[in-house]
């Protein structure tokens, strides 16, 4: 793609997005929708920054990020190890597969009550639910990656004398990377959704709490601001993870 075409595409995107915002702004300003129910974007953002101290907002963002990083990191670690081990060691896979298949269809949010019973109302219960959001897509894609390795690669490595753990870590794991990366990306998206929901239902800090609290206070502007903030955070972090993945495996595997 040439530079000018790229610029053209980007410009069209900006025009499309811009006109949507202008339309929304006008609808609210001209009174087609009540600003009390659906404030214009400028009103929401400026209003929020006036009423809610910036430090509070940053505090909510920080709390949320900390939770999701913990839950996600645990999910990546457990999902990768269990998925890879299940795919590689047949006997282990036979044992883990039915348990995973049984629990996988249960949406992570449905675990919230049990998480509270097991871990109390504090941070661990939220981290646990976020962990589940990341764990299942990662464990299944790691397993799929391991069982789908081109047998020719393993055979080629065997003819060069690799076996056992060396064959696993130097050939099988790298070969499963693309699938694992897909799972990690999906896992991030899911745990992000879970994070917000968990904070809506049971939290006294975080971005989800911020908007739920604003509802009780009747601050529609803060809610709209919060929704956009959460969306933007999701977009940025997902882009970041995508970039890391592309850097790691993008040259040898089309992402």
């Amino acid at each position: 793609m040439t530079g000018s075409v790229r610029w053209q595409d980007a410009a069209l995107g900006v025009i499309g997005t811009g006109s949507l915002f202008v339309l929304w702004e006008l609808a609210s300003r001209l009174g087609f929708v009540s600003p009390n129910v659906f404030p214009a974007p400028t009103t929401a953002i400026i209003g929020t920054l006036r009423t809610v101290p910036l430090l509070d907002i940053l505090g909510h963002v920080g709390t949320s990020l900390l939770r999701i990083i913990w839950g996600f990191a645990l999910g990546v670690a457990a999902g990768t190890v269990i998925g890879i081990a299940s795919g590689w060691y047949r006997a282990f896979g036979v044992l883990t597969k039915p348990v995973i298949e049984l629990l996988r269809p249960i949406p992570p949010l449905a675990w919230i009550p049990m998480a509270i019973i097991w871990f109390g109302l504090g941070e661990p219960s939220k981290v646990f639910v976020i962990f589940l959001g990341a764990f299942f897509p990662i464990v299944t894609s790691a397993y799929k990656g391991m069982t789908g390795i081109d047998p020719a690669l393993l055979r080629a490595a065997q003819t060069m004398g690799l076996r056992g753990p060396k064959l696993l870590f130097r050939v099988a794991v790298p070969a499963a990377m693309p699938d694992l990366a897909t799972g990690i990306r999906i896992g991030w998206g899911l745990s992000f959704g879970v994070l917000v929901a968990a904070e809506l239902i049971a939290a006294d800090q975080g971005m989800g709490f911020m908007i739920m609290n604003a509802r009780q206070l009747g601050q529609v502007g803060v809610i709209v601001f919060g929704i956009i903030l959460i969306g933007v955070m999701n977009l940025i972090t997902d882009y970041f993870i995508g970039a890391v993945i592309r850097r790691r495996i993008g040259r040898w595997h089309a992402v």
């Binding site: 997005t17 036979v94 348990v99 949010l109 097991w118 989800g208």
Partner: protein, 260 residues
């Protein structure tokens, strides 16, 4: 293959027995880990007496299912024509790309407080939230499906003097169907995720509500029954969808990769 299934089943039974014994011998607290025997009892209770306020399990399942179906069908019927349009008209695709990317990134449940303000805590709120989540998953797949129709197929159809409309109906749409099923499947996953969150607020009917209510009554056994039913429901619908796909698209075998 069959052997591993039997071993898998035995593993599950073994774990359940272990769990039961661990509670009986006092290693696990029955409130934190309600044993299988109690969960079985809770199923019977839910089927006969009902919980909470005599709401039978079938009411919960039915209500949840109905909400999902409404939101899901709404999302799909809106997303397919819009997706076909955006996918076909290149300028439209470029204009909407950032909007769609952002729309997908918005956490569906973060809209809950806003939608409550608009429509209250009733049915409409839940249906709309499900519809929102499903919509983007479906839309982006329909667009991608149209955009990546094999150009050789289009060229082949051109050589057969196919008109524009005919080309669209007879070539583009069928070629997009496999990708639509991918979207439908992803949308379903999103729907199940959203429904649980949506039902945890402002209702006592539905499986999400059942799970949450049970906790406030210290009935963890009922919570687990609710979780199992959501799992079974989700699993059955997605199995039904794959079955539907093999019936409707018997020619499609090559999309295994994207599907999961």
């Amino acid at each position: 293959m069959r052997n591993s299934r039997i071993i898998g089943g035995l593993t599950l039974i073994f774990l359940l027995v272990l769990w039961q014994l661990a509670v009986t011998w006092g290693f696990l607290k029955p409130f934190q880990f309600p044993p299988p025997s109690r969960i079985g009892g809770a199923v019977v209770e839910l089927a006969t007496k009902g919980f909470p306020n005599n709401q039978h399990i079938w009411t919960h399942v039915g209500v949840t299912l109905w909400r999902i179906i409404q939101g899901y069908v709404l999302a799909i019927t809106v997303a397919i024509p819009i997706g076909l349009l955006i996918g076909t008209v290149a300028v439209l695709d470029k204009l909407t790309l950032p909007i769609i990317t952002f729309g997908r990134s918005v956490a569906t449940l973060s809209l809950l407080p806003l939608v409550i303000i608009w429509f209250g805590t009733g049915e409409l709120t839940k249906v709309l939230l499900i519809a929102y989540g499903c919509f983007w998953a479906m839309l982006s797949n329909v667009i991608a499906g149209v955009k990546y129709v094999d150009p050789v197929m289009i060229r082949a159809a051109r050589t057969l003097d196919t008109g524009r409309l005919r080309m669209f109906v007879k070539v583009v749409v069928p070629a997009t169907l496999p990708r639509m099923f991918v979207g439908a499947r992803m949308a379903l996953g999103v729907g199940f995720m959203v429904i649980v969150g949506a039902e945890m607020i402002g209702t006592i009917q539905g499986l999400g509500a059942l799970i949450m209510e049970a906790r406030t009554f210290y009935r963890s056994d009922i919570t687990i029954v609710g979780m199992l039913f959501i799992g079974i429901l989700g699993f059955s619908i997605s199995t039904g969808l794959s079955w539907l796909e093999t019936v409707l698209l018997p020619w499609n075998k090559g999309l295994e990769e994207v599907r999961r």
